[in-house]
Symmetry: C2
Subunit: 177 residues, 2 copies
DNA sequence: AATTTATGTCAGCCATATTGACGTATCTTG
DNA sequence: CAAGATACGTCAATATGGCTGACATAAATT
């Protein structure tokens, strides 16, 4: 038996040392964990059929959505090193999901573009995730859906936004700059 | 330059083959990605100081929150194999963050409990995440916060719920059982 | 011409996940 | 009770996707 959160009862003893012992958002913390677990799980199954993993999905997704993304931009978005990106990106290039074009202004840059093949894969995966989102929003009206977006936007760090985030947030580049 | 989603313009060509070509929820898909990236990022830094990774966090979190959780329950929640859990759990046991107790009814079971040391770590990490959530909910009223919870709950798979999910959802165990 | 920048790559390491096999204690069932 | 199923632990091998550090090249900048 066991396994029942003491949501009202005894909070963890020594509490948050140095962080203060105010009310912790256990509910939302755990809902986020499970929601994201199942959200990414949708794509995982499909990806297996292509011999890809989550890393490939993230790369092809953002390249499809933001055509002409530079390698450096992608590194900012994914928060990984170029060595890590390298392996995954090379596979996607070799297998024809992505193509590179030399930058016009700066010929050092390799601008990334998804091929139709890549776009198709991304759309398929986004379709699965969209299904889940639509189901989740089924009982929520337009105003509620906007509240959900507002919450998610506010969960994101806005200091030092990468190129994709600037696009998402309409580049209100804060103070710096 | 580049990097601007063609949110209105040309959707990916070959669209979702087999999944239908209706509107895809690009915005929420990406907001979820960034929100979760930064959400778990909070804990990452702290964990480094303890020599732990995300895997340790997930384990100690759920053990703290659901005292007496069985090993099998934890495997369901985390969706990993017992071999993977094994190493991480052993570390947490060895270093005194978790203790095991033999089940009363079933002596094969090893019920897991967080020590005060473990609870303190979990509370500290939950504190960081709570700060972010509170900031995100700052401009949202009580009804809006409930909408957010409703959305997150609805994003979670309800078929074959694990023990923790049953607790979270008030065990409305669907048909099976 | 010297330096910096954007990218690629080699080499190795680490964390975390996997599958498969096997062992042991304990509960359940015929 | 004997047989089988279950809960858990563990050994071994492997894969993925991160990491650091070092180094190379081409192109832009100064």
């Amino acid at each position: 038996m066991a396994a029942k959160p003491d949501s009202q009862g005894s909070e963890p003893a020594s509490a948050a040392s140095g962080t203060g012992a105010r009310e912790l958002r256990w509910d939302i913390i755990e809902l986020l964990f499970f929601a994201y677990r199942d959200f990414v799980g949708d794509a995982d199954q499909e990806l297996e059929a292509f011999g890809f993993g989550r890393a490939h999905h993230r790369v092809i997704h953002f390249v499809t959505r933001y055509p002409g993304l530079k390698v450096a931009d992608l590194l900012d978005v994914l928060r990984i090193t170029k060595q890590s990106l390298g392996r995954v990106l090379k596979q996607l290039l070799d297998e024809g999901y992505i193509v590179q074009k030399t930058g016009n202004n700066d010929r050092r840059q390799r601008l990334l573009y998804a091929t139709p093949k890549g776009e198709a894969l991304v759309a398929k995966l986004a379709g699965l995730q969209t299904d889940r989102i639509n189901r989740a929003l089924a009982g929520i009206d337009a105003a509620g859906a906007e509240t959900v977006r507002q919450f998610l936007r506010a969960m994101i760090d806005r200091d030092d936004p990468d190129k994709v985030l600037e696009a998402i947030f309409g580049s209100s580049k804060k103070a710096r700059e």
